[in-house]
C-alpha cells in the first residue's frame, strides 16, 4: 500500500504543471457550482431565513413540499408537462431539421442554419411574443384571427389559463434549436461518406434505411451530447413563463419548479425550503439525463 501511495504522489508531483493550469478554473468551478450543490442539499434539511443560523429540521421541508404545498404540485405538473413535450419534440426537431439541412448546398445550408438558430441566439428577445399575443386587437394573433373572421373579440391570450401553457410550450420550442442543433449539423457533416457508398452496395435502398442503419449509429456521440443540452433546457422553463404569463401567473397556471424556487428564495427568504425545491429539481434533471444517456447508448447496437 505504501508503495502505491508513494507512486501516486510521484505522479501528482510530476504533473504539477497540469494542476497549475487547471487550478484557476477548477477553483471557481468548485466555488460556484460544486459547493453550491452541496450547500443546497445540506440547507434543504434546515429552517433558514438568512438572519438566524440554520436550524436542523430533518425531512420536514420535503414532507411539506409533497404533502402540503399545492402550488408546488402544480409547478411539478407543469414542469413535467413542459419537459415531456418540449424535451422529445425539440430533440427530434433539432435532429430532423439538421438532417434535412445537411442535404442542401453549402450556401443554402449556412442560410437555413442561421434561420433555425437565430431565435435561440437572439439574446432573450422572446418578449416579442408579447407583441404577437398581446390581448388587444393590435396584437398580430388577435388581429389576424379577427380579420379572417374567426374571432369577433380579441382574446386575452396570456391571462386565460387554457392558453397560457400551450403558448409557453410554443415559445419554448421556438427557442429550443440551440447548441444541440448545431452539434447535429456538425455531426452530420463528419459522418464518413464511404459508409454511405458501402451501404448502397450492401443493399440500403432509401433514405430512411440509410438514416437508421448508417447515419444515426455514426452520430451517437453527438446524439448523447444533444440530449443532455435539450433535457436540461426542457426542465428549466422559467424565464419564458415569467416574461409571458407574469410572476405569479394567473392562478399559478404557469408556475414551474424554477419559478416556485424563485418565489421562496428571492421573495419569501425561506432558504431552507427553497433549497429543498432546488434539490428536487437537481435530482429530477440529473436522473432524467442519466436515464436517457443509458438508453441512447443502445442506439444502433
Amino acid at each position: 500500500m505504501q508503495t502505491w501511495w508513494s507512486m501516486k504522489w510521484k505522479e501528482v508531483k510530476t504533473s504539477r504543471q497540469s494542476y497549475a493550469m487547471l487550478a484557476p478554473y477548477m477553483i471557481l468551478f468548485s466555488v460556484f457550482t460544486v459547493l453550491p450543490v452541496l450547500i443546497s442539499i445540506v440547507l434543504s434539511f434546515t429552517y433558514f431565513n438568512m438572519l438566524e443560523f440554520p436550524k436542523f429540521i430533518g425531512w420536514q421541508n420535503y414532507t411539506r413540499l409533497f404533502l402540503e404545498d399545492d402550488v408546488f404540485l402544480i409547478a411539478m405538473k407543469n414542469t413535467l408537462l413542459f419537459a415531456v413535450i418540449t424535451g422529445p419534440v425539440s430533440y427530434m426537431a433539432c435532429f430532423v431539421f439538421a438532417w434535412i439541412i445537411n442535404e442542401l448546398s453549402p450556401k443554402l445550408r449556412a442560410f437555413m442554419t442561421l434561420v433555425f438558430y437565430a431565435p435561440s441566439i437572439s439574446g432573450n428577445v422572446f418578449f416579442i411574443w408579447l407583441m404577437i399575443f398581446s390581448g388587444d386587437r393590435y396584437g398580430i394573433m388577435n388581429g389576424m384571427l379577427m380579420k379572417l373572421g374567426i374571432l369577433l373579440e380579441p382574446i386575452q391570450w396570456l391571462k386565460t389559463e387554457a392558453y397560457i401553457l400551450p403558448i409557453i410550450i410554443l415559445v419554448q420550442l421556438w427557442l429550443s434549436l440551440g447548441t444541440g442543433f448545431l452539434a447535429f449539423i456538425a455531426g452530420l457533416q463528419t459522418v464518413d461518406r464511404t459508409l454511405y457508398e458501402a451501404g448502397a452496395v450492401d443493399g440500403i435502398r432509401n433514405r430512411w434505411q440509410e438514416l437508421w442503419f448508417i447515419t444515426l449509429p455514426s452520430m451517437r456521440p453527438q446524439l448523447m451530447f444533444g440530449a443532455v443540452i435539450q433535457i436540461t433546457t426542457a426542465f428549466a422553463v422559467a424565464d419564458v413563463s415569467i416574461a409571458l404569463a407574469g410572476f405569479p401567473s394567473v392562478n399559478n397556471a404557469a408556475a414551474t419548479i424554477v419559478t416556485h424556487l424563485m418565489d421562496f428564495g428571492t421573495t419569501r427568504y425561506e432558504m431552507g425550503y427553497a433549497s429543498s425545491i432546488a434539490t428536487v429539481l437537481f435530482l429530477i434533471m440529473v436522473g432524467a439525463n442519466l436515464l436517457v444517456q443509458k438508453l441512447l447508448r443502445k442506439v444502433g447496437e
Partner: protein, 288 residues
C-alpha cells in the same frame, strides 16, 4: 500507386415524393422560426400609427427611424443615461468572455492531453454539471457572492461566468484532436507546458475559442444581472429593455427598437463565425 478499381459512386435512391415533403416541412418550420424575428425587425421601423394599425401588418410600409430617436430621448431623460446600460452590458460581456476563454482553455489543455491522477473525476464532474441548470445553485451562489463581497458589483455576474462548464467541455473535446506529435516535438525542444499551451495549442484551436466567445456572448449579452445587481446605474441593457417593454402601449415603438438592438448584435456575430462554430461542434460528441 493504387491499382484497385475506384469504387463506383452509388447514390442511395431518394424518392421525389420524400424530397418534396421534407423540404415543404423545412420551409414551413423555417417560417415559424423566422417570422417573429422578421415581425420584430419591421416593427422597429414602423411609425406609431402603423404599429397600431388594424389589421396588423407584418411588413413596414413607411419605414422611419423615429422609434430609435424616441428610445434615446426616452432614455436620455431617465436618471441613468441609456449609454450607461450599454456600457454595463458591454463591460460584463467583454470581461466575462475574456476570463472564460483563458481559464477554460488553460484547464481544457491538461484534461485533453495530459495524464495525471484525478483527471477522470474532474472531467466527470464537469459533464455532470451540464445536466442541471444554474437555477439549482442560485441561492447558495447568492450567499457565496455576498461572503465574497461581490453582490451589487459587475463581478457578481462576471466571476461565476468564468467557470461555465459548456465552454470547458467543448474546448477539451476539440483539443483532443490536436496530434500528439506536434506537442512532443515542442517538449523535446525543452518548451514548458505553459509555453506549449500558449504558442502551439491556442493558435491551433481558433475555431473552438471563437465558439466559446459566441456562446458566452449569448449568455452575458442577455443577462439581467441574475438578481445579484441592485444599483440602477449598474444594470444591464436587457434589464432596461424589460422596463421599456413593461411600459406597455405608450412605449411600443421604443420597445421594438430596443428588441432590434438586442438581437442584431449576436445574430451578426453568428453570421460571421458560423463555419468555425460548426467545426467546433463536430467534436462535441460524448464518448462512453
Amino acid at each position: 500507386m493504387n491499382f484497385s478499381l475506384p469504387l463506383r459512386r452509388k447514390r442511395v435512391n431518394r424518392s421525389l415524393g420524400g424530397t418534396i415533403s421534407l423540404f415543404a416541412l423545412l420551409v414551413l418550420f423555417g417560417c415559424f422560426m423566422i417570422l417573429p424575428l422578421v415581425y420584430a425587425v419591421n416593427n422597429a421601423f414602423k411609425p406609431l400609427d402603423e404599429i397600431f394599425l388594424f389589421p396588423p401588418t407584418l411588413f413596414v410600409r413607411n419605414p422611419t427611424l423615429n422609434n430609435f430617436v424616441d428610445l434615446f430621448a426616452l432614455m436620455g431623460n431617465s436618471w441613468v443615461p441609456f449609454s450607461r446600460y450599454i456600457f454595463n452590458t458591454v463591460f460584463i460581456t467583454g470581461a466575462g468572455i475574456l476570463g472564460h476563454v483563458v481559464l477554460a482553455s488553460a484547464a481544457a489543455y491538461p484534461l485533453a492531453k495530459h495524464k495525471f491522477p484525478g483527471k477522470k473525476a474532474m472531467f466527470g464532474i464537469v459533464v455532470l454539471s451540464l445536466m442541471f441548470t444554474p437555477a439549482v445553485t442560485a441561492i447558495p451562489n447568492y450567499m457565496i457572492l455576498s461572503w465574497l463581497g461581490l453582490i451589487d458589483t459587475y463581478w457578481a455576474v462576471i466571476v461565476p461566468a468564468f467557470a461555465y462548464s459548456l465552454g470547458l467541455y467543448l474546448m477539451k473535446q476539440f483539443m483532443e484532436q490536436i496530434p500528439d506529435s506536434l506537442l512532443e516535438a515542442a517538449k523535446i525542444d525543452g518548451a514548458s507546458e505553459y509555453r506549449i499551451f500558449w504558442t502551439i495549442v491556442m493558435p491551433n484551436v481558433k475555431p473552438a475559442w471563437l465558439t466559446l466567445v459566441i456562446l458566452q456572448f449569448q449568455i452575458l449579452w442577455g443577462t439581467d444581472g441574475n438578481g445579484f445587481i441592485y444599483s440602477e446605474q449598474l444594470k444591464s441593457l436587457h434589464f432596461a429593455a424589460g422596463q421599456i417593454v413593461a411600459g406597455g402601449i405608450a412605449r411600443a415603438g421604443a420597445a421594438a427598437a430596443v428588441a432590434l438592438i438586442l438581437m442584431s448584435v449576436p445574430i451578426t456575430m453568428f453570421i460571421f463565425s458560423q463555419s468555425r462554430i460548426i467545426e467546433t461542434m463536430a467534436t462535441s460528441g460524448m464518448k462512453d
